[in-house]
Symmetry: C2
Subunit: 225 residues, 2 copies
Amino acid sequence: MVDFEAFFKITYGLFIVSSGDKTKGNGFISNTVFQVTADPPRFAVCCNKNNFTAGFITRTGVFSISILEQDTSSEIMGRFGFRSGRDFDKLEGMSLKYGETGVPIVLNASIAYLECTVIQTIDTGTHLMFIGELVQSAVLDNSKEPLTYLYYRQVKKGSAPKNAPTYIDKSKLEALKSSGPLKRYKCTACGYIFDEEKEGIKFSDLHDSWTCPVCGSEKSDFIEV
Amino acid sequence: MVDFEAFFKITYGLFIVSSGDKTKGNGFISNTVFQVTADPPRFAVCCNKNNFTAGFITRTGVFSISILEQDTSSEIMGRFGFRSGRDFDKLEGMSLKYGETGVPIVLNASIAYLECTVIQTIDTGTHLMFIGELVQSAVLDNSKEPLTYLYYRQVKKGSAPKNAPTYIDKSKLEALKSSGPLKRYKCTACGYIFDEEKEGIKFSDLHDSWTCPVCGSEKSDFIEV
């Protein structure tokens, strides 16, 4: 017996994991960042093999971790969490710092960051786990709380993007729920609700290029609620 | 430049990771439990090589994760987090369930649990990372919040045991602090304060076998505050 709800009891933070160099880079929202040894300090990040950033980490051997604040905007969550860097330059217009290795570090909505060089790459199936040794770390804002996945789910009403290790297949999730006759669709990036009654149009009739009016996520990032 | 305070901005939960079989087992407090793939669900736990439970996981190939509730008592934290199973049977007297693999699962203070079989073991230096495939999972109490490391540090005033990946060497930590003339010592397990003025005896004069009156941690688990 597997109860998926048990997975949600595991506490995670939320982070932007970035990689690349001064000419080109990318970043994505991760909830699986953790310290694996104390001395020397080493940190692990998990990354779906399809993730655009995974290629940058593999090629450059460096990554940065930006630890997000509790009040991270849905624009930042949508930009880094639910859209692909294959389609646009996620780092353009962001507040960036380049680390000692040249890796881009996103400063927007960040209370601290860590810069690491990859010392080990582990294939866990659908994901790669990169283990990095710390190059430098800094606190940017000591007055703010870190964003947790629980807070994001409960308060911001967000859910995991489909490349996250914690993503749950919608068909499985919906089989768990007693689905009422509601015809409302939720943006999984920012929590925006598309209500067919209010909008006067069926969600399925919206054009495929339609995007979330709040955060710009694609139509396919919506789920019926 | 390495700012250790940045490490504390990473959010973690707190868990009892157990292993063994129906005849003998052990468990320890871990803050590094995380999902590494969604399909099939796989979970990773980090474990110091000196940790008594590491031997059980290596020998039996199974482990369980008990997700602790926010109000976990200092007795449970002290028993599983700051004392070794080499010295006494941690599981004796606990509320246990044996999983499908026969692994013991601690139910005390737990809101959910997961049972896994090891499919991969990774050497990260001082620690081993075990990656396990899910056998079963269950929610035990949906009404309670999970315990986070931040809550434990801020509200319970606890810190990491010395085998934890997030442990910071006291000498390093104290070099960071401007040490005043205070002569008070804190139990790193439960937060109990030994005040020399109140007790009328110097902490250094206490016998080496003296233990924390609240949670039973050893004298060496106290730090000057």
